[in-house]
C-alpha cells in the first residue's frame, strides 16, 4: 500500500525498517474515490492529511470569476496536504482527476510518528518544500514559457514524478487527465491545449491519446520544455 510513498522517500534518503513500520501504522485503511470528486474543500478545518495510493489528484483554486487554476498534480506516493498538519485549513481544494485510492493519516498519529522518528519529520517537511519547488516551477512556466513549452514541461515533469514509482519510463505513461484539466494547469484554454498537442504530435515529440502519453523523442521534448529536473530534488543524501 505504501510502496509508492516509500519509493518517493527512498529516492531522497534511506528509510529504516522501523520508520517503514511507523508509516504503515499511522495510515487509516484505504478508501476508493470516484473521479471528479473534491475530497478536501478549501477553508475547511482538517485533522487528517491524505496520501494518494493510486490515481491522479490535483490541488486547485476557483477564482471569483469562476475560472479555475490547478496549482499541482499529485501522483501515487504523494501526500496531497501534509501542510494541513501545520495550517488549520487549506487555501486550495483537492480533487480526484481520475478514480483514486487514498489513505488518510490523523494528525495526532502523524504528530506521534514525527516525535518518535525525527528523521521522518524532516522527510515530511522535505515533501512540503518539494511541493513549493514545483509551485515555483509552475509560476515560471505560466509567467514566462510559451504555450508549447508549458505543455511539454508538464509532460516531462509528470514523467519524472511517475518514474520514481515505476509508473513511467522513457516511452511514456498513463495520464488520465483531460485537455480541460491541462488547460487549468497551464493558464491556457482547452482549445489552445488541443492546438499545442497537435503541434507536438506533428513535430514527432509526443502524442497524448486515450489517456496515455506516448513519448516519441524524450530529449527533444525536454529541450522544447527547457526541462531540468533539479527542482525535483532527486538526489539521495542524509537529510
Amino acid at each position: 500500500m505504501i510502496d509508492h510513498f516509500l519509493a518517493k522517500l527512498r529516492v531522497r534518503d534511506e528509510i529504516s525498517p522501523e520508520e517503514e513500520e511507523a508509516i504503515r501504522g499511522m495510515l487509516d485503511p484505504p478508501v476508493e474515490i470516484p473521479a471528479d470528486k473534491t475530497i478536501i474543500p478549501a477553508g475547511v478545518e482538517l485533522n487528517v492529511s491524505t496520501l494518494l495510493l493510486d490515481g491522479l489528484l490535483c490541488r486547485y483554486k476557483d477564482l471569483r470569476d469562476g475560472s479555475r487554476q490547478i496549482s499541482e498534480l499529485h501522483v501515487p506516493g504523494d501526500f496531497a496536504d501534509l501542510h494541513s498538519f501545520t495550517l488549520k485549513y487549506l487555501d486550495h481544494s483537492v480533487m480526484a482527476l481520475t478514480k483514486c485510492r487514498i489513505a488518510t493519516v490523523r494528525h495526532d498519529r502523524l504528530k506521534a510518528v514525527i516525535e518518535a522518528h525525527p528523521h521522518l519529520g524532516r522527510m515530511f517537511w522535505f515533501m512540503t518544500n518539494l511541493d513549493a519547488a514545483i509551485h515555483r516551477e509552475w509560476v515560471l512556466s505560466l509567467g514566462r514559457r510559451s504555450a508549447i513549452s508549458r505543455v511539454a514541461h508538464l509532460f516531462c515533469e509528470t514523467r519524472v514524478r511517475l518514474e520514481i514509482s515505476g509508473l513511467a519510463d522513457r516511452r511514456g505513461y498513463e495520464f488520465g487527465i483531460t485537455q480541460a484539466d491541462l488547460a487549468e494547469c497551464l493558464g491556457l484554454t482547452p482549445v489552445h491545449v488541443n492546438r499545442v498537442l497537435k503541434e507536438l504530435r506533428e513535430d514527432g515529440l509526443v502524442a497524448f491519446r486515450g489517456g496515455r502519453v506516448h513519448i516519441h523523442d524524450l530529449a527533444g521534448l525536454e529541450r522544447i520544455a527547457e526541462f531540468y529536473p533539479a527542482y525535483l530534488y532527486l538526489d539521495k543524501r542524509p537529510r
Partner: protein, 297 residues
Amino acid sequence: MLKEADEKIGTQPNRSIGVGELWAGGLRKVGLATQHLQSDQHLPSDGCQAPRSLAPRPCNRLVARLEAVGNLSRDDREAIHAICRDAQAVPVHRSIIRAGEKPEHVHIVVEGWTARAETLADGTRQISAFLIPGDFCNLHAAILGEVDHDLIALTDAKVAFVPHEVMDDLARERPALRDALRWVNSVDEAVLRAWLSSIGRRDAYGRIAHLFCELHARMTLIGLVEHGCFDLPITQEMLADAQGLTPVHVNRTLQALRGDGLIELAERRLTILDMVGLQNAAGFDPTYLYLGMRARR
C-alpha cells in the same frame, strides 16, 4: 517595559534599550489587530500603528510575524533578535545565492526587499516571490540542500546570514518557534499558489491589483503601512518579472489603476485610495495569507 529593558543590559551589553522594547510591544499589537480580519472584511486603510521614526531592533519584523502566529516567550524573541544581529548590507541587484548552489546559511530580510527568481535560457526572468522585512528567503534550503532559484536583492538591503546549525538548534530547543517557522514556511507556499492563480487566470490589471492587495496585507502585518500607504521600492521591471508581464505593460496598467482612482504611486510609495475597489478589481480573498490564524502544535 523599561524594567525589562534594564534587565537586558546584563545579557546584551551592546544592545540599545528602552525605546527598543517599546517598539517591540507596539508591534505585538499590530499582530493582534490583524488577527480579527475575516475574508470578506476589507483591510483597514490606516493600518500602521508603529511610528516609523523609532529606532527598530534588528529583527522586529520577523518577531512581529512569528508572534502573530505563535506563543513566543521573551527568550524566543531574544533568540530571533540575536540571529539577526549581524545582518549584512547587500547592494541592489546582488545575487545572494544562485540556483543550484547549496547555501550554508538561511537568509532573513532585515531591511529592504529581496526576491526569489529563475531565468530562462533566453534571459527572461520570473520572480516567484517578493521577500520583505521579516521574511525568510530560503528556510527550505535547510532541508532541501540546494536552492532551485536565485536569490537577489531588489533594493539595497540588510540580510541576516544564519548558519544552518543555528537554525537547527533553535528549532530543536524552542518548540513554539519551530512551529511558527513551519507555519511561515507553509504560508510562503500558499502565496506561491495565489501568484500562480493570478498569473494563470487574471489579466494584467487584475494581476497588479491582486499583488498590491497582497503586499498591503503583508506590510500591514509587520507594521510598515501608514494610512493605506507603504514603500514600494521596486522597479516596474521587477513588478513585470513577478507577474509575467513586460515593464511597458506594467507601466500602462499602473496608469489605468491610477486613472480608475484605485491607487496613487509616486516616489516609490504606493497609496491605496480605494481598498474595496482594488480588492474587487483583483478578486482578492486574503484567506491564503492565513491572517489571524495561530500555528498549531
